[in-house]
Symmetry: D2
Subunit: 147 residues, 4 copies
């Protein structure tokens, strides 16, 4: 994946309206892996008393990040995907006022389904995950060995 592919994937992802509304940025991409960030914003707060970001925004961040990991996987024949299902475990509140990062890894691709897992954490606090995700996405895999 050369610099052009990175720029292409970055533009594609960051121009999605929902990604723009949340301020999502593609920080890093490698084959089957994507890292995205979402800056803290008052508009995303779920609990006004604490300033903690709504779980739904974290969910969108992770969903988008998982999609990025799928479309950059070397076994994918076409760079398009859609979420089939996603499970998110919320482990602790994100820290108010800080950027949230997510890293997704596409660990298996069949002809029709890609499996992904992801983690999210607050900036400067990478050892204490905010949330973890596991999901299945539509795929156009080169091989169908999985099922």
């Amino acid at each position: 994946m050369g610099p052009d592919a990175f720029e292409e994937m970055k533009s594609f992802t960051e121009e999605l309206p929902q990604a723009r509304a949340l301020g999502l940025k593609v920080e890093h991409v490698e084959p089957g892996v994507a890292v995205l960030s979402m800056p803290w914003s008052a508009e995303l707060v779920g609990d006004p008393e604490t300033g903690v970001i709504h779980g739904g925004a974290v969910s969108t961040l992770m969903d988008t990040c998982c999609g990025g990991a799928v479309i950059t996987h070397p076994d994918m024949l076409e760079a398009t995907t859609a979420t089939l299902d996603l499970r998110i475990d919320y482990m602790r509140p994100a820290q108010p006022g800080r950027t949230i990062f997510a890293r997704a890894e596409c660990y298996h691709v069949t002809r029709t389904v890609a499996f992904v897992r992801a983690q999210a954490w607050t900036e400067g606090d990478g050892d204490r995950p905010v949330a973890a995700a596991t999901g299945a996405f539509t795929a156009s895999g080169r091989r169908g060995a999985g099922q």
Copy 2:
């Protein structure tokens, strides 16, 4: 649950910043059940070519709706909750330009965990669900018979 409780829950939910950003409205509440709506908006679009709403917005709608079903459950001692985990199955794209509805039902409450399921559909197309969700939320249940 009298009209006052409905208004109280409605205000509480609709004033969450993330709910306001998405334009979420509480349409109906009964013990352990909540129905919310989310109007179509260009800002929520996930796929610019089709105008289909981003799965993450649907996810936030369902997450918030599930929370509403938990806090109105008669076995809850306190009207607060947080998502522990949520699984969302995306079945078909929402229809562009139309309001999306979600209905959540809290079907089991233990001392510490509430279980919820939800469905989302496009206005006027209630027989063909857009997404289904299953999740566990923190609870303050009256009884702990479950576990």
Copy 3:
């Protein structure tokens, strides 16, 4: 689905070695729906002190039941399937000494994926579910409208 189809599906399911080891029986089948039973057995106990069946046996019951709901769905072109992913929520212990039932419903089929949900309960106690499941299975759907 005539009586022959029922007998065929019943034989197919009950002859699976794991189904035989657990004593699974097909109680009822209709298009996209299957009901199975699993008799209580000392060999399936997870907690020797209480006699409660191991969650894994309940999981196998529900997994098998979901597969039955998929292969009988009218949109399926071939009567074979495999579990892609399955989420099970355990709500309360099954009652010792009693048969456990599961009912699964395949509520959506695309060309490649079928979505299913299921519930399990103890005989004579159908109002208080033991577990609920949601999953995605491989499919050979007539239409691919879903994704």
Copy 4:
């Protein structure tokens, strides 16, 4: 965790009737981590034509393994747990005739809920996972920072 604790946990797990029926063995334990094995057996076969183990047996292996990771976590005040919910992704069939291994890691414990993830693979083929799991278990955590 000294050798005594390992033996104690090993005996406890392997004496569960369902674990004995499947021939589960505790291979390795460290704080918050458990590795179990399940030997291939004709009785566990799900597909008679291929000899592949039923997903439900893999599910029981992983469920039990996750429980082992929870009860050995250093933040747990009592060595008991029960599955609240479990999601299993099946990636490829296990190879017939070979032992299946599972490794589970408890990566977060609150006062009431423990979060776990696990992987399963066929002996000698550790790079190609058979299944992955994510779940929430009941806990008696020392701290309640998570929620």
